[in-house]
Amino acid sequence: MSINTFKEKINMKSKSLIALGLALLLAGCQAAPTASTADSKSASDAGAASETVKVTERSAKDETTRVYVSPQWAKDAIEGKIDGVKDPVVIEASWGPVADAKEYKEGHIKGAVHADINSIEDEPYWNLRPADQVKSAILAAGVDADTPVIFYGSDMSGTSRIAFAYLWAGVKNVKIINGGYEAWKNAGFETETTVNEPKAKTDFKATVPVHPEYVLAIEDAYKNLESGDKNFKLVSIRSLAEFEGKTSGYSYIDKAGEPKGAVWGKAGSDPYHMEDYVHADNTVITLDEMKQLWSGLDFNIDNKLAFYCGTGWRATIPFLIMYENGFTNMQLYDGGWFQWTMNPDYPVQVGDPKSGNVQYTTVKELPNDKAWKEN
């Protein structure tokens, strides 16, 4: 039952009391977002060609938790023009070591180093690596908890994934350039092809992970679903075909379906695209656009949300959109559908529960012929 429906059933006096109580509760629990959404250039952008970059404008006090920034903001930060952002490390994030980082070697933001997304996740589940390994990877990139970091990459899911890992570990100020390298180039900003070596650090200055609460383990996802807590929503950030169990979406996952009780949060046309959350110019949707995207779905932004996808890339985007707007009622269920399929007795649904055309079973009963095959 939504908050609005609940309020309609209460008389005016009770409504006032409840509103006052909620206001006090929210003030204690989270910082209310103060940003307004605008299809505009960033405030400091005087002449850069960033007309098409959509950003969420925020007040100065929210700058640290802001994630998706314009190329102009990034340039200003690199040049020391942003208060509180000193000597940021600019990182091009893509998969593979620098020797194989084709996009990085073809051209990157001047001074940027490369980071391998694989440095923060590993088999067998492609979940985040153990804390000490993530810490080592972050230190090797020249970053500690106090270092401002500016990520960019052609794959917004992968870039958001590594940014999420850094935030989970405890890096306080993590940014992602909205629009990526193309937006930077289109703005006419400086690029280079020289491979830069990171200046590794030795002291992270915090115990990793500083924010274990950002990640929901599979056991807890299972318990929350089984508990029947109506406020908990395990939100599938996967394509409709994956959600309906028509395909696993991956060549290395044989079974298709979703954890029983999961709700659909939209994503894109297939596991490698996020058209619902990322515009064609590689900029991420705003909070208002996300709320609109979610209208009519089986959850809302005030629920206790845990986002997941196949292995934890796509799901980081809605997490970070909520994060940068001050929400704290969300987590990433890191294991995704992949880890769920490793548990034979775990309950699953195949089909869309909303349509009524759904089958409930367990992982071990699922057929093994749903791996994605290239046409």
Partner: protein, 134 residues
């Protein structure tokens, strides 16, 4: 050039071509798994399937034993040319060396590359046996 000399030349060329093809294939497989996320994850998945299906260690040491047997046979075989013997021995050493000194933890494409090298080595051995005769 004598008839034997021509046969040796053909044999050496064929063996060298096979060797080069399998080495290039192995190299590109190694590079692709480092550059392509999907391919690496698929290989990890295949690694798991292969480990469940067969005794990898037994197969590995069987191939190493086979390579050692080929080297010994090459030394003893009087009917082969020196060039042929050297080529097949080098192939056997490279192949068994890769099996012994590399591993899945060093290179996730280890099983796949080992298969490619094994196929190349077996074909090369057959070509050597059939064509390199005095």
């Amino acid at each position: 050039m004598t008839r034997h000399g021509k046969k040796t030349r053909v044999s050496v060329i064929l063996m060298s071509v096979l060797q080069i093809i399998s080495l290039i294939s192995a190299y590109y497989l190694h590079k692709l798994t480092r550059a392509k996320l999907g391919l690496l994850r698929h290989l990890v998945y295949l690694n798991g399937k292969w480990e469940k299906a067969v005794n990898i260690e037994m197969i590995k040491y069987s191939f190493i034993a086979f390579a050692a047997a080929v080297i010994i046979f090459a030394v003893l075989r009087k009917r082969s040319s020196l060039a042929g013997k050297v080529l097949i021995s080098v192939s056997a050493l490279v192949f068994s060396g890769y099996l012994l000194f590399f591993s899945k933890s060093m290179d996730r494409a280890y099983y796949a590359i080992s298969l490619v090298l094994a196929a190349g080595f077996i074909l090369e051995t057959l070509v050597w046996l059939i064509t390199d005769r005095k």
